[in-house]
Symmetry: C2
Subunit: 356 residues, 2 copies
């Protein structure tokens, strides 16, 4: 591989997935047609949707009282669909504010009911995960964000919670095992570990639905999609298909447990270098470091241009940090090989030799 | 081309579009990456979004007081977004009911305000387009559907209207020239003449926005996307890209006027055969026949199996009619070559010789 892809999302996909995705965009199997021009009601495409749903159940060990949905509009649409479907106007939902995306989720939820921010790390520019907060037992649900792409923090485990839990797992789903039964609703935009932009995964416990009083447009009611297996209208066929290819790859590699081991090894390598190399420092609390998005800064920002030129020469792309944090962010999603991390580490070491 | 693709949508795309779409899913230009794994904030992708928007302006001759948006959720999401953004609870919108999709649009609009069905062809299973109806001048807007994919009817022209007009052009946009200034909002799912499933085109006159009183979630407010050039959140990158390739193809072919001529020639050929061949008959009023979806039935349904086997032998796929009409539907979108229509006509003629 010539280019080392550290983009935060849309993000790197496995080479064999891209190869097959490319072939199917020209001709899908022996159908004589591109997968882009086939009816979503045709048998080959119905088979794709069914296999994708089944594989997600298998890889995440999801019980039958949950439904896997393929929606659109990204996690940003779940910010309002969750409270629209789960929260009555006189009820209260709790939110843990761990950065830009949860802040946006809080803003949208306020349109539908009462919102209580249970904990926040805004006091330190979201560079840590709040812990040991009290969760009032009268909340309709508690909303958390497992990984914060922008700030590079990640919940390493999920505390027991006395109320229903909703979780935005956009940037770390399929990166590690987790107990789905701790949650009533899980959502994730596809474009990190799952597939290309254009499909949003929702996993919902069916018995929590249809309990609110408001009238909801058909397309925004989760139950519409539960009843129609995500084909109430034309689903985003190709993004779902490429997600299926990625899920097959995860399974072939050994499942989410193996993804976790791979991601741990990459994180150890890169954070190890950040901690060792006197030119750089990490931006987050060490215990909350994300294994998906590794944020770091230069001690001497006047050397930024030289470091960026060296990274570019080594064909490392997408390492520019988000403006909220600055510096650098190397995203190390499932599909990123450790060899790419090693290339970046080599760049950092050479940079130290030349500029340290 | 070995297979003749008459699917109603997702539907046929030009061969050269599919070729380039396939190549870019493996490696995009000289970036060393698949277009599926590149950040939507990267320069090459920003350039794609800008060119797509500009090309739509050019091909449809859209003035600058309109904004072209790339959303998701299909036309089905526009059914509620239109009234949510344009209709106050105490106001009335008019709808012309020409079949399944407009019926659904009416259902969703009722959640937001008063709805008056101005005209309907439900009395004859939507096999014609209502005409010469009165439009009350106190309507907030009138909603029409230009082409009815399921029933095979199409508005051949658009009457002057004393109120704002909103039009669902999902299945015939870019198939013929039209005067955009007759409309305040045009929407279309991509998966007929524009691209693959996964992106929804909205063209909106900017000064009609932000006039309603209700609070609207950020993602559902057109103005959010106007202000952010459709990148408020991660847009469906690949469906937009393939749409751009299709738009370039339309331009290269000579624009929507040439598309209209090609579509007219295909329609003349196929409807001509339906009218000539004593085995078949058309299902719609002759003056309202769609140039996109040609619906026809066998006089003797006991011969259906034989006809379908002959069509299959000739590699004509996707001609099964929708269950609401039965029989056959051959969709003849922009990308379908007249040679494919000729193959189907040959099948019909041979069928007459053998079974007539």
């Amino acid at each position: 591989m010539s280019v080392h892809n550290f983009f935060a999302g849309p993000a790197i996909l496995p080479q064999e997935v891209l190869k097959e995705a490319s072939e199917s965009a020209w001709r899908y199997q022996d159908h004589g047609l591109s997968i882009l021009e086939m009816s979503h009601r045709s048998k080959p495409l119905t088979a794709i949707f069914e296999e994708t749903e089944a594989l997600i159940h298998e890889l995440l060990n999801i019980p039958d009282d949950y439904k896997v949905l393929f929606l659109t509009g990204g996690a940003s649409s779940q910010f309002y669909m969750v409270p629209m479907n789960l929260l009555n106007e006189n009820e209260t939902a709790g939110y843990v504010d761990t950065g830009t995306w949860s802040t946006k989720a809080i803003k949208e939820a306020k349109l539908f009911g009462n919102v209580k921010v249970i904990a926040s790390s805004e006091d330190k520019n979201f560079n840590y995960i709040p812990k040991n907060y009290e969760v009032p037992t009268d909340l309709k649900y508690l909303h958390i964000t497992s990984n914060n792409t922008i700030y590079g923090t990640q919940m390493q485990s999920f505390a027991d919670c006395p109320v229903r839990m909703v979780i935005d797992m956009s940037s770390d789903i399929f990166s590690r095992p987790f107990d789905i039964t701790s949650f009533d609703l899980v959502y994730a935009g596809a474009q990190k570990n799952l597939g290309p932009a254009g499909v949003t995964l929702v996993i919902v416990k069916k018995d929590i639905l249809e309990k609110v009083e408001r009238k909801i447009p058909s397309m925004l009611n989760y139950m519409t999609h539960v009843k129609k297996d995500s084909t109430f209208n034309t689903p985003p066929v190709y993004p779902i298909y490429v997600s299926l290819l990625t899920l097959r790859w995860i399974k072939k590699m050994g499942g989410v447990k193996v993804m976790q081991e791979r991601n741990q090894a990459k994180a150890d390598l890169l954070y190890g270098e950040i901690d060792r190399n006197p030119m750089f420092y990490g931006t987050t609390a060490v215990e909350d470091r994300s294994k998906m998005n590794v944020c770091f800064l230069l001690h001497d920002e006047s050397k930024a241009e030289a470091f960026e030129a060296a990274a570019k020469d080594a064909k490392c792309v997408g390492i520019k940090g988000h403006r909220s944090v600055g510096g650098y962010r190397a995203s190390t999603y499932n599909a990123l090989p450790i060899e790419s991390v090693q290339v970046l580490v080599d760049v950092m070491q050479n940079f130290e030799k030349q500029h340290g």
